[in-house]
Symmetry: C2
Subunit: 286 residues, 2 copies
């Protein structure tokens, strides 16, 4: 089995974790959460989403959060679902953006009423503009294993999106088990094939823990050579469009496992244990 010496953990709690909370989370609380995560040794965090405040009110303070992260000198990521969002991110001097495409055709039709290919066409000017502005592009393939509407998602559906992301110049591709339906065998097979097809692209594993398989899936992805993983402090999160999906794998559980396996993350587990209760106190879901 493969247990790499170093693993990069990207914290997604402040964005993926908190975006769907029904209550109001103050900007001060978000800043406190981000600061404590940075102090625990986490180097990259998804902190903001430039989405319309009417749809995702929790992210309405993204400009202020971006400014805060810029002052911290943090390598942070902001979600930019469209050109308007990207323009806001550019104005806010965001260093890294994240774009999303669902691999499942049924999911895309149901949720955004678009074919996967249409969404990909809309991505093109965004990639171009982001590149012109020197931004790092994280490209998410969501619903990359199973989908609440079509069940199994085929490898070809995932490949179709990855092909285009690679052509457009994605700096890393994040393969999302958005509804927690993956299993270690599927994870190993899918990542192995992707790594064979695109040996130079850094892939990220993004696992939700709906079926309690997130850590087992990380172990399987490690065997396929993946060394970057998303996680969420306290296991915050879910998926608004995926009934029953629970949060991302908890950062503290992931760091504990990796540390026990001598995979260095540079993150202090004891500090995470102190942050997790605060993170959970901001959430109605964990």
């Amino acid at each position: 089995m493969i247990f790499p010496k170093e693993v990069e953990i990207i914290e997604v709690g402040p964005r993926d974790g908190l975006q769907n909370e029904p209550g109001t989370i103050s900007t001060e609380n978000k800043k406190e959460l981000i600061t404590s995560l940075v102090n625990s040794g986490i180097k990259r965090i998804e902190t903001a989403a430039f989405v319309h405040p009417k749809w995702v009110p929790q992210m309405a303070d993204s400009e202020e959060i971006a400014q805060f992260c810029n002052e911290l000198g943090l390598e942070y990521i902001a979600l930019t679902p469209n050109l308007r969002a990207l323009e806001r991110a550019i104005l806010s001097k965001v260093p890294q953006i994240a774009v999303f495409i669902g691999a499942s055709s049924a999911f895309n039709k149901k949720n955004i009423n678009k074919e996967t290919s249409e969404s990909l066409i809309e991505c093109e000017p965004m990639f171009k503009l982001a590149k012109e502005n020197g931004m790092f592009i994280r490209a998410y393939v969501s619903m990359a294993f199973t989908c609440p509407y079509e069940g199994a998602v085929s490898f070809d559906e995932v490949k179709f999106v990855c092909d285009r992301f690679v052509q457009l110049g994605a700096d890393e591709i994040d393969i999302g088990d958005t509804n927690g339906g993956a299993n270690p065998k599927l994870v190993y097979e899918r990542f192995s094939r992707l790594k064979d097809l695109y040996p130079d692209i850094p892939f990220v594993g993004h696992f939700h823990d709906s079926n309690h398989l997130a850590l087992a899936n990380v172990v399987a992805a490690l065997q396929a050579g993946v060394t970057k993983f998303d996680s969420s402090i306290g296991g915050l999160g879910g998926c608004p469009y995926s009934p029953g999906a629970t949060g991302n794998v908890a950062t503290e559980r992931l760091v504990n496992m990796l540390s026990q396996m001598d995979c260095e993350t540079g993150i202090n587990y004891e500090k995470l244990l102190k942050i997790a209760p605060f993170a959970k106190s901001l959430s109605t879901k964990v």
Copy 2:
């Protein structure tokens, strides 16, 4: 990665899961639990423990449970910690017995005030008598990865016990992560070495979920060629001598993972989901 076509699951909930419950669990409830587990497709169950009722009152009805299992024609296992227990098991026509030795010297000293070697000497007449009576012998090495008193347990400590179990004629050896301190890397290394040393001995993986790593540990053990695992319906259990240890890996979670990976267990997952709430209703701990 290795994903075997068939995996054997041994249900330990009725014994390991319920033995430490403070309240009274009726014999009728135990019979109902065992019957429903058999109906779900489970072929082997630890159902009884011939221990003194003063110390483990939940197992006081072991004779009646053994008779019930005999009538069912079930391949069941009863725990027999000493010769007196074994004699009771023989009288009850138990087909399979389980004996325990802790790998951790510190644990043995603390809990039974004996050296590991002394405990092993006491096992000898039990193995002899069980063999004379045609019984199948499951030999448990508990605390085989970490121990609440000494921390890391060395491979040599585990090998010391396994060597003797093999010499005495154990039919299978169960390697227990009794306090849930193992991790996938350690599990893979330890089982790989054991399988190299004793290629003809069937090894069983027994993982507690204290650190949420039980399923990941199962995946690692599969890679080392292990195809037998203990689990407990509803995640019942714990360890009376191991502070903080939670229950065994839940049978329903294990069956779900294996079934998704096309590892056949012969067990009906939907039926397990219906049994789990009843099992949990008998427990104060899950």
